[in-house]
């Protein structure tokens, strides 16, 4: 009988005692969020975890990657996810696992009389619980990354509408910073709309672009060049004083492109080029 199995047996025999002690500890600890988790729920979670943990211990495995530990890890993954969505911090979730150490160590001290065995048992439990505690953090992190990735994709789709302003005139209001991935999407969308609307003029409005550095300027120039190859002229509008200063200081050459301060100015130029005029109705308003 190995150390792990015998400790497993020991824990099984004193399961009730450990559970009560553990629960009392958790409730006394400052990291417990009484407003987020009910006592009954906490008791249920703790009992399930302790049972699975003991079962895995008894299967004589010290390697948490082994199949014996899969139910424990699944339980922790579920717990970590549900706690994350309830608003727990990863520290609080990991503390749930770590706080089991104290009652376990108490039990070992009570039952194992030989110093060697006690030290070995303590070490074994520490390693196991540390791994499991860190596993909850890892799951938490994974969840966060999934959310971030999904939001990024949604942002990418949301932020690149191409609108038809007039016959043969399309506009692309850009909002947010332009990176390479976004430029690619923006460019494809714009070129597709140019084909669909038979556009002669495309207005790229950068009022919503917070900063223009050399990279953003280069991306803009690429888009303009691609649109020109399709046979559409580009006008960049929404040049703010700050941005104009930055571009000149950076030494970026935008002289090939028509730039306007406002979308209205750009639209006026576009109308003029397509041969349309806007006339104020004399009978209505000034």
């Amino acid at each position: 009988m190995t150390q792990a199995t015998s400790i497993g047996q020991l824990v099984r025999n004193h399961e009730h005692q450990i559970l009560e002690q553990w629960l009392a500890l958790q409730q006394a600890s400052t990291t417990l969020r009484a407003n987020l988790v009910k006592e009954r729920e906490l008791r249920e979670q703790s009992r399930d975890f302790l049972q699975q943990f003991t079962a895995a211990l008894q299967l004589d495995s010290q390697n948490t990657e082994a199949s014996a530990w899969k139910p424990v890890k699944d339980l922790l993954a579920k717990l970590s996810r549900s706690r994350a969505s309830q608003g727990f911090t990863p520290v609080e979730t990991a503390t749930f696992v770590f706080s089991l150490k104290q009652p376990l160590f108490d039990l070992l001290r009570q039952e194992l009389k030989e110093a060697d065995k006690l030290a070995e048992g303590n070490w074994l439990m520490t390693v196991l619980l540390d791994k499991l505690g860190l596993y909850t953090t890892e799951i938490y992190q994974q969840n966060r990354e999934l959310v971030i990735k999904r939001q990024q994709e949604e942002l990418l789709e949301l932020s690149t509408p191409v609108v038809e302003l007039w016959d043969n005139i399309v506009a692309l209001p850009l909002i947010g910073t332009l990176d390479s991935a976004r430029t690619q999407v923006v460019m494809e969308n714009l070129l597709q709309k140019i084909v669909e609307n038979e556009a002669m003029i495309a207005i790229i409005d950068i009022t919503g672009v917070p900063t223009v550095d050399t990279l953003v300027a280069q991306h803009l120039l690429k888009t303009v060049a691609a649109a020109r190859l399709m046979g559409a002229d580009c006008i960049i509008s929404g040049m703010r004083p700050q941005i104009a200063q930055t571009i000149v200081h950076l030494g970026v050459n935008l002289s090939e492109v028509v730039t306007k301060a406002t979308l209205a100015d750009a639209f006026a130029v576009a109308l003029q080029r397509t041969g349309a005029t806007v006339v104020r109705n004399a009978t209505k308003g000034q």
Partner: protein
């Protein structure tokens, strides 16, 4: 197909590229087109690449070269019907074809050629009056 047909329409030449270009085809086209411009004394060339799906740096450069040669022979070149994917590829390759006029489709390309010819007549090359 080992040759791309060149059609004469009044003062203009019409080149429609219906197949994917390979290098030899592009070189042949360059030869043929320059000869035809001189032969027909054409003042405008319209190259329709709406069926062209794949370009590489060589084909991109050939298109720019053809336009430059035509200009030297006093013929304006308009490139029409480029697909979005092709445009993006050319820009990524660093070939923005700065000296070439472009238009969305054949109709608009023709209009552009005609207006540029009128401009030339206005500046003294008036043969009608």
């Amino acid at each position: 197909m080992d040759r791309i047909p060149i059609l004469k329409m009044g003062e203009f030449l019409l080149v429609t590229i219906q197949v994917d270009m390979h290098d030899q085809l592009a070189i042949t086209l360059q030869d043929d087109l320059t000869q035809q411009i001189v032969k027909h004394r054409a003042h405008g060339v319209l190259i329709d690449i709406s069926s062209l799906e794949i370009v590489d740096s060589f084909i991109g450069r050939m298109i720019a070269n053809i336009a430059a040669m035509a200009r030297m022979l006093d013929a304006e070149t308009v490139l029409v019907g480029m697909k979005p994917a092709v445009a993006i590829t050319l820009v990524e390759l660093g070939l923005s074809l700065a000296g070439v006029r472009t238009a969305l489709n054949v109709e608009k390309g023709m209009a552009a050629l005609q207006s540029s010819l009128k401009g030339k007549e206005f500046f003294g090359r008036n043969t009608e009056k």
